[in-house]
Every structure is written in structure tokens, then in C-alpha cells.
Symmetry: C2
Subunit: 311 residues, 2 copies
């Protein structure tokens, strides 16, 4: 099968590349940990070309990229669209990399310039573009990760969003804080455990006490002989519960909720929402980013009767 | 002047020692960074004796110690008193170190065994003992630090308390998170700055969104050209505001508030309370720990008509 375009999701800590056919099928894919930090040092173009070579991609195959490659400290800055930002406007604001042997575009991120709560995203907007067929006019999307995004979408536009540092705080606390003693030696969250459930509920009910809840993990180890696994599960549950509780206050909405995630992260958040009796529809994040990049590619490179040709 | 006893506040990261006269006057003092971590490796007795030698303390001078030296991983475990814990009971539960050439006692900490919110303190109880002359039957004390404690005292007993990881989170976020780029190169909080004030108010008003507020520091740098100093002040303000806001929800009390702190920490918290229009009386932490250790010393070593002899 002949590839029609290459699509890349270039994040802070990871790089993923797909070759896609005119019918939107994945022909080949590659991934690595050559995220922004690595690429800024060793060169974006070289990394991209090496991966394209490894997949025997034609020399003139065009490339569409979303994510941190478009940051100020990335390959080339793709200035943020301001909210409210129509998802279908994203591809129109892609920036083209000049001086390369093939056509390469980077999609812009989205910014909220609210002086009280400035916020930015790069990549998540493309997943939401990929979710364009969502049946609800208005919905709230949770995109969990190092920096979880909660995004309000109304009539095909991002109207507001908020970033929660859940994943980064989890890693910092588990590895570098006093809590490391109470979570020692564990690296897999057991989402069926009572301690995960207790954490989710406590974090959600009283997110304002999160920095106090966190210390209870240490005290629980000292007073209640809780194990490292117990502490690990509770830490995860507390931070996720706090995120969901904070987002509930921020957006005042729990209906038409979309969880855009894949793999273990999807399972963990799905469990947390179920524990809180919050109905949520899960959208696969990998499919969403591929669909979003595909819509942008057809716009930029011309439609070949792809399934999103109507957009 | 002949010393009557030596008093030590032995914390996680610091060691402070005073020689005290029968009249309660400080004759000499020493301090170092030989806290729990250092002492557990190199030996508690050696460190104590070296500092006593340096102050030419008599070989039979008795010593009273509070803090982490009494932890399980400390010199000798001084089991926690459970809440409600009468402050005057603390000295009665001191543990004596055996096999040493002088009398050495370590005061116990206090624990809350609430299964939903287990919590522990070591050292703060001694500061509150030192504040025994407080005119109010019931008050709420804020003892800020790496792990800030909020303690409800009723009729001379600790009836409840909660630990907020404010100081530790500040250090982790400023040095190890994505926010380090937004606070780069700064190490002094400017409590008069607008960014500190904005942070305190935002953290206090919506403590449940703290992990989202934190990310706004990064976004503010990207979108609003905020400086490293701005970010540093805002980070401090947000975490302190969140602590005060969380404690307000936890204890439902803002009257009869005591801030037990010294130096820069006292100034910063005092400013935060003023920004929030919360009346607070400041108690000097150094005086409080000395008074608390003094009360315990008189109980354990016999009273010489010291000023706290009535307790």
C-alpha cells in the first residue's frame, strides 16, 4: 500500500510516527522516547528523517505533526490559537517548515489568555479535532496525563480548558518527596484496591485538602502498617480524585463527559469515574490523534476521498 | 552562669541546642544541619556530645530533646500520644536514653489515628506546650514549615490536627517540576509583590483547583511574559493560600488563630493572613520551643523556681 501522508504526535517525552494510506489505514508506525527535550538537543529534522527512512517512506511524502514540536523551544513555533477556538480552524493555522526536502506542517496549540488562569495546550486540540463526530453539541473532555487537560467543547469549538498537574505531581511525590518511603518499590497501580478507591473518594470529596491528604499516606504507613503498594495506590487515587473534584468545581458540569485516553491510563481513570458514579464515555486517544491528524492532512495535502473528506 | 539543663530541638534537617540557666535564661547555643538523616548515619550521641563539649557543658548536665530524634528511625522511639492529648502529659511520656553518661530524655510526638486521616507530629506539640499561657481556652494554631501543622487546642489539649505539605511541595515544584523554568534563578520570596498576593487569594478562594493553579505559573510565563521572580512569588502564594483555604474547610474556624513561627516564615504567613483579612496573633516559634522544653525539663529534672514552675 502506498502511503498518502505521514503523521506524527511529538510530545514532551515521546515521539510517535505513522504512515497512512489514502483510505486512512495505518501502513506502518514507529515510536521512541525522542520527545522535545531530546529533539531540541539532537535536531528535529534528523530524528524525523531517520524514522521515515526506517519505514521506507517516499522522499516526497508530506508530514503532519502535532504537539510540542510546535512550541517556542520546539522545531518551529506554531503560535497558539486563542479560545474560543474552532477545531476546524486548527489546520488553517498550521506552520510549514521551510528548507526541507518534503512538505512538513506543524499544527498550532490552543491558549486561554484569561489573566487569572492563563493556560496552554499542544496536541490535545488535535485529539479533540479527531473526536469531531461526537454526537453532543457541548461536552467536557478529560485527557489525562502528565499534565491532564479538561476541555469544554461547544459546537465544535474549544471554549475553555484547564490543566491539572496530576501525572507530574504523582511522579515527583512518589520519587522525590517524603512519601517515597511510603510507596517504596512499587510501580504499578492496582486500580481494584481499596486504597485506590479510598484515595479517589477522599480526593474528590475534599480536593481543597489535597496537600494534607497526601501527608496521610506517610502517617498511614507509620500508624496503620500500610504497605508500599497501599501507599502507591492511595497516592494515585488521591491525585486523580482531586483532579476530578477540582474540574467539577471549575466547570460545574459532569454530564456529556468524554474520557480521551488509551491503555492503562484509560483503565485507571475509567475506574475512578465509576467509583464516583460519574458516567463517562471513553474515546481511544490513539484513534483520536490519528483521526485529528488525518483531518488536518486532508485539508493541507488535498482530499483523496478519505473518510473525513466532508470536513 | 551555671546551666541547669540543655534543651535540643532535633528535626528532620536541623539540630538546635541551648544551655539554659535555672532562671530560664539562654547561656549558650549551637545549631547545625545534623538533622535526622545525618544523625541516623553518624550517631546521635556523638553529635550531641560534640556540641555539648563545644559549649563546655558539665558532664552531668541533663538534656531534654523534642522532635524527630524520637521517631522510629531516630535515636530512640518515643511512642506517640494519641489525640486528645493533654499538653501537660507530654513530659510524663518522655523516654529516657539508657547507657549514656548523663540523663537524656526525648519527648513523644502526637498522633491522630482517624482511619480516614491518620496524622503525626513530632516537635510541634512542644511548641504548643510552650504556648500554654495562651488566654483562649480554644484556639487554632498554624505552625508553618516543610510540613505545616494546623492544630486545634481545647482546654490545654490537642484535640485535632492536620499536616499540609506546603514547604516540601514548594521545594519540589520550584526545583524539579516543569515550573522550574518559570521560577528560575530565584530564592527569596517577595511578600509585597502582586504575584504573591494574587497567588494567596487564588489558592485560598479555590484550593480545590491547586494542581491547576500551579500550571498557570508555567502558562503565565509563556503567555504573559511573567518573570522568574513573579513565578516564584506566585508559587509561594498559591501553596500558602491553598493551605489556609484547606484548613478553613477542615476546621471551620478562623477566630482565635495563632501563627507559631519565626523569621522569614513568620513574615510570609503574616502577610498572607493579612491579605485574606484573617486576624492572627503571632507567637515566636523559638520562644515557644524553648518554653515547652523548659516546662518539660522542670518536670523531669525538678523545679528550681523557674518561671514555669506553676505548671
Amino acid at each position: 500500500m502506498t502511503p498518502y501522508y505521514a503523521a506524527a504526535d511529538w510530545g514532551t517525552s515521546s515521539f510517535r510516527l505513522w504512515l497512512v494510506s489514502t483510505e486512512g489505514q495505518i501502513i506502518a508506525e514507529r515510536s521512541s522516547d525522542q520527545g522535545l527535550a531530546v529533539a531540541a538537543a539532537s535536531g528535529f529534522e534528523q530524528i524525523l528523517e531517520d524514522h521515515l527512512d526506517a519505514l521506507s517512506a517516499p522522499k516526497d511524502l508530506p508530514v503532519i505533526i502535532c504537539g510540542m514540536a510546535g512550541a517556542r523551544q520546539g522545531w518551529r513555533e506554531a503560535p497558539y490559537l486563542a479560545v474560543p477556538a474552532a477545531l476546524t480552524d486548527i489546520s488553517g493555522h498550521a506552520v510549514e517548515i521551510e528548507g526541507t526536502s518534503r512538505r512538513i506542517y506543524i499544527l498550532p496549540g490552543v491558549a486561554s489568555h484569561d489573566p487569572e488562569a492563563p493556560d496552554v495546550m499542544r496536541g490535545e486540540e488535535t485529539l479533540l479535532l479527531g473526536n469531531h463526530a461526537d454526537p453532543h453539541k457541548m461536552y467536557l473532555a478529560c485527557l489525562p496525563g502528565t499534565h491532564s487537560k479538561w476541555v469544554q467543547v461547544d459546537d465544535g469549538a474549544i471554549v475553555g480548558f484547564s490543566t491539572f498537574m496530576t501525572g507530574e505531581l504523582f511522579a515527583l511525590l512518589a520519587n522525590h518527596s517524603i512519601l517515597k518511603h511510603a510507596v517504596a518499590g512499587h510501580s504499578q497501580i492496582q486500580r481494584e484496591s481499596r486504597h485506590f478507591a479510598d484515595g479517589v473518594k477522599a480526593g474528590y470529596s475534599n480536593p481543597e485538602e489535597i496537600t494534607s491528604h497526601l501527608f496521610s499516606i506517610r502517617a498511614g504507613q507509620l500508624l496503620q502498617d500500610r504497605t508500599g503498594q497501599d501507599g502507591y495506590d492511595r497516592l494515585s487515587g488521591l491525585l486523580i480524585g482531586c483532579e476530578i473534584g477540582g474540574a467539577r468545581v471549575r466547570f460545574g458540569q459532569t454530564e456529556n463527559l468524554r474520557l480521551v485516553a488509551s491503555g492503562q491510563l484509560a483503565s485507571i481513570y475509567d475506574t475512578a469515574f465509576a467509583l464516583l458514579d460519574i458516567p463517562v464515555t471513553t474515546v481511544d486517544a490513539r484513534n483520536a490523534v490519528l483521526d485529528g491528524l488525518g483531518i488536518a492532512a486532508r485539508r493541507l495535502f488535498g482530499s483523496h476521498a478519505g473518510r473525513d473528506g466532508d470536513l
